[in-house]
Amino acid sequence: MAFAAEGLYQSGFENPVEQSQQCYRYLLEGFSRPGRWASLGAINTPTSISSSLWTILLTLCDVETPVWLSPAMIAADDPERHPLTTAIKFYTASPIVEIASQAQFALLTSADADLLKGLAIGTPEYPDRSATCLVDLSLGTAANTGAMLHLACSGPGFADIRTVSLPGLSSAWLPAMQENRQLFPLGLDFIFCRQEEFLVIPRSTSLEAVKCTSQ
């Protein structure tokens, strides 16, 4: 192949057992106490995706978890390097699915608010059979526009109402995520990724818009 090999073959965990355990504890903490940015540390990524998103993929995905990529996510591939789908298959053996509703993990960019409707939300008997959205905030059309979504969050895991700022997200995400909250206990869980950091908004979190003056 014409691609430079080093990008693909140097993007795994050096010590999979320890690193995936450490990443998982951050993730569990993120789900337990949502709405906080936490850093997962630097790691080589096979493409231009955020390194936190890649770390989470390596931690959670394997042959049992169908992964779906939004068209914008696929379009974000660097033509000089291997496609992201190749890297996912190589490192996790996860099946890449074409149909969004079959995905257990959906990879989205900041431009994909309108694609949430196509994802699995679970059934009343099995609300756990739903997709987890991994949203890369540094990719997508809204990523570098200076757009910023401010949300007042409350619910399980919040001792008090907490204001969360999500850079790169357009206001279209708010109604989509509020509708998702209405579906509880069904619905999607969100992991927002930006470079080395991630932030979790599970389906149980209530969201209100915060009007931001100045700054």
Binding site: V17, E18, S20, Q21, F31, D128, A159
Partner: protein
Amino acid sequence: METGYNFAYLDEQSKRMIRRCLLKAVAIPGYQVPFGGREMPMPYGWGTGGMQVTAALIGKEDYLKVIDQGADDTTNAVSIRAFFENVAGVKTTTRTTEATLIQTRHRIPEIPVKAGQILVFQVPIPEPLRFIEPRETETRTMHALSEYGIMHVKLYEDIARYGHVATTYAYPVKVNGRYVMDPSPIPKFDNPKLHQSPALMVFGAGREKRLYAIPPYTDVESLDFEDFPFEPQRWEGCCALCGATGSFLDEIIIDDRGRRRYQCSDTDYCLQQQNRETSEKVEHTPSQGDPG
């Protein structure tokens, strides 16, 4: 540390499966997530569910505490602690305040748990409706529809028969206003500790292959009636060893005439209380000699 096993016994794919299920459990507080329970090197009923959760969570930095009915020194607690020392080489402790992970059989420690600690409960029968409705398909539908009236009927039957709610352990709770959940066979004395706890609580049932969780700062309400409000147990006596009055006390028969005494079920708490008493006495001794 034993060699020949993966870190913490389970293989990585099993851990990933349990980890994914746990994230769902935290996202849907009180909902029982089915998981692919693995065989553990001990029989069902000895905490295989809790051990699988602990194995999926534990890391080299963790301090593990294991309690069985509050005690650190009973068979179940000792062997599970030894197991993780062997297969993960982790540090263990009996101090509640030192532990980062606490696997527990049927108690919540007396010393309030802190943010960042994780409690792992061993659960025999995760379904609170099981004794009322034996069919899984039915109980699943009842949870889907929030059809929990029958749970109140059960509590009402207690009141009709005994004059009070006679359920003293595994007392059903409603989590986040949605799912009715079995808090595992903890005494109802411990139920108030579930409400708005700063620590994450995870429940693992190995035989039934179910996981569920209560995230920190979540409303957990023990089911009751307006005219029969929920009441935890209370004791007339105090602990015979440390004198504590606010802890959960075990009743011990001490002779064949039915005489009895009470003792803290939480051995770490009891020991801390006793140590504090001793150190206070030591501190007081010189002051007695002080003039004036």
